[in-house]
Symmetry: none
Subunit: 194 residues, 4 copies
Amino acid sequence: MASKKMEKHNLILDAALKVIAENGYHNAQVSRIAKEAGVADGTIYLYFKNKEDILISLFQKKLGDLVGQFHSSIKETDSADEALRKICEIHYTMLEQNVDLAFVTQIELRQSSLALRKEIGLVVKTYIELIEKMLRQGIEQGIFRANLDVKLTRLLVFGSMDEVVTSWLIAGRKYSLTAQVDKTVEFFIQGLKA
Amino acid sequence: MASKKMEKHNLILDAALKVIAENGYHNAQVSRIAKEAGVADGTIYLYFKNKEDILISLFQKKLGDLVGQFHSSIKETDSADEALRKICEIHYTMLEQNVDLAFVTQIELRQSSLALRKEIGLVVKTYIELIEKMLRQGIEQGIFRANLDVKLTRLLVFGSMDEVVTSWLIAGRKYSLTAQVDKTVEFFIQGLKA
Amino acid sequence: MASKKMEKHNLILDAALKVIAENGYHNAQVSRIAKEAGVADGTIYLYFKNKEDILISLFQKKLGDLVGQFHSSIKETDSADEALRKICEIHYTMLEQNVDLAFVTQIELRQSSLALRKEIGLVVKTYIELIEKMLRQGIEQGIFRANLDVKLTRLLVFGSMDEVVTSWLIAGRKYSLTAQVDKTVEFFIQGLKA
Amino acid sequence: MASKKMEKHNLILDAALKVIAENGYHNAQVSRIAKEAGVADGTIYLYFKNKEDILISLFQKKLGDLVGQFHSSIKETDSADEALRKICEIHYTMLEQNVDLAFVTQIELRQSSLALRKEIGLVVKTYIELIEKMLRQGIEQGIFRANLDVKLTRLLVFGSMDEVVTSWLIAGRKYSLTAQVDKTVEFFIQGLKA
DNA sequence: AATGAATGAGAGTTCATTCAT
DNA sequence: TATGAATGAACTCTCATTCAT
């Protein structure tokens, strides 16, 4: 029962992801999503409160999955630099492997309503706090500088990776995103200094 | 003649900036901008092709002014680390001093159409190339690592600063953005390493 | 068999009355009535042709009951003025004692479709004919004026009482409706004349 | 200027009256009213806040005109029975001469939303208060019984006439409404008594 | 007999853009 | 140049009804 309900729920979310990725946020009409999912327009509203609810659910689920990946991949026993590498690796790899998701999260959903962007903010916050935790561990482990402002640095780290992904998408995915992990991590750890 | 035309042109752009900052992108109707500018709706179309053209012009002009600031502030003779500091300082200070502009560029205009975002991309690209130039100089001057991937690193640097500004806005501007310059630059130069 | 069928039939009608009284005609969705009756949406359609059929049945049954009351209360041997008093008394008392029914008949069902209002008209007609009969008897008994236009007067009598009930409901039932019987009947019989 | 604006305002109101009278309240779509008025759908919203606003304006204006008729026709010097006759005469005659208006006020607008019905109530109240004033004068003049409950009686008088008009409409306007004035007034004044 | 998930037609409203003045 | 009244396409959501189980 519950699984059957969830099945159609996911069916609609997947359809929404595809439609937004292909047509852009502003051309993702409910009727188009319904058609892509193979259900009637009204059926959408049996599973979602309104259009915004679809988008919020989409973001929460897909990005929640992503954040889940981080949590399950990074062990407490990892050294902070290993953890940092894993974070960057998962971040780049996952989005490279799910281009639709990447487009939707990096480009399309950013055009959305205030309410949606607030929800997005909440999910992103979880991720940013994961980065912060990693930074704190690095300081405790003596691997990272003790005078780091972790609240600021977590933004610098997240913002860097986020910009790299967006730029890769906009430029047309002409190179491997995953191949940028090493250099990105090296920048974080070593900085620019000769 | 031409200057009179430019006067009203600017009048409309300033009105657009104010209206978007106050009401958000999705509530910035042409009629509202016209009212704020003190002209009739139709007059807008004597100076701009369509609504998108207003926004593109707005971004080009305001952000162009900003990029101009960078070019005039940074001298060829600056050492790369001095240049990097200036870049970050101007970036943070200018946006802290122009909150309307900050909101519009960081939050509101990102909800816009593909065409606008492409235009934004062009202006931002100029800035990113300035960062790249600074990085190259640093390498030549032996201040920055020779093995830097400048195409990647320029994104890491820009993305970091961009995220810090956005986060500062969303969080409600509860602290000084300019006060983050030192730690930001130190992160870029020293990295995380203990 | 038949009684079992009627049981659920009535169950649904009672649910409809309650739902309309509580939520108003425009918020009395079939699904809400089904829920109140404790049956599935589809079950409704085993007992009623469509939504309008529920409402028509509701009105016919409930108002039919009311009209039945009149017929059983008024004896052939009553003098016309006694009969008139009984009619008014039952009219006011029954609706005062069944506020839900009063709201539904006086306020909510009047917003309904043409077809329903025609059906309502038929039931009301029976009542109006009862009033007419009473008037004829009064004339025969020499109690009422011989030159009365009974077709017109029955409307004047019904319309008066109907308006009093509606006004009492709209004003918030702040006084006793039954207490208006004496003065109403006196108006009918004596008129305004000093 | 103002008159030009009012012209179109009235144009739309007249179109609404016609469309509602011809198609019924529930088939009076905004697009249909616009077409009847010979304007674009959007133009409607330059003159009215929303659909309900059209209907409220319609009722206020048309019924306001009617109530105005009463006030201008009835002189202070009229004896109460003359005034009563005038009220009934205007009531019946005006609606007989404006069948569209009669249909809309007696039948269609009663199916409308709560907000509209509240507005209708306000206009009707003015009329009912006029009836009350006439009754009070009759008592003062010694023409009407001193023991009349004017608050109740005004409803009896209004309800009677209202029902006669509605019945005349529903029955298909097969007889003259104006011809009912004499007998209606006689009923009010003399009552049923032989 | 009973269920309830699925259907899909239908309508009010906004707002960028035009064009007669 | 400037106006601003008029345009009309486009889209979300509701809910009575159906039908496979």
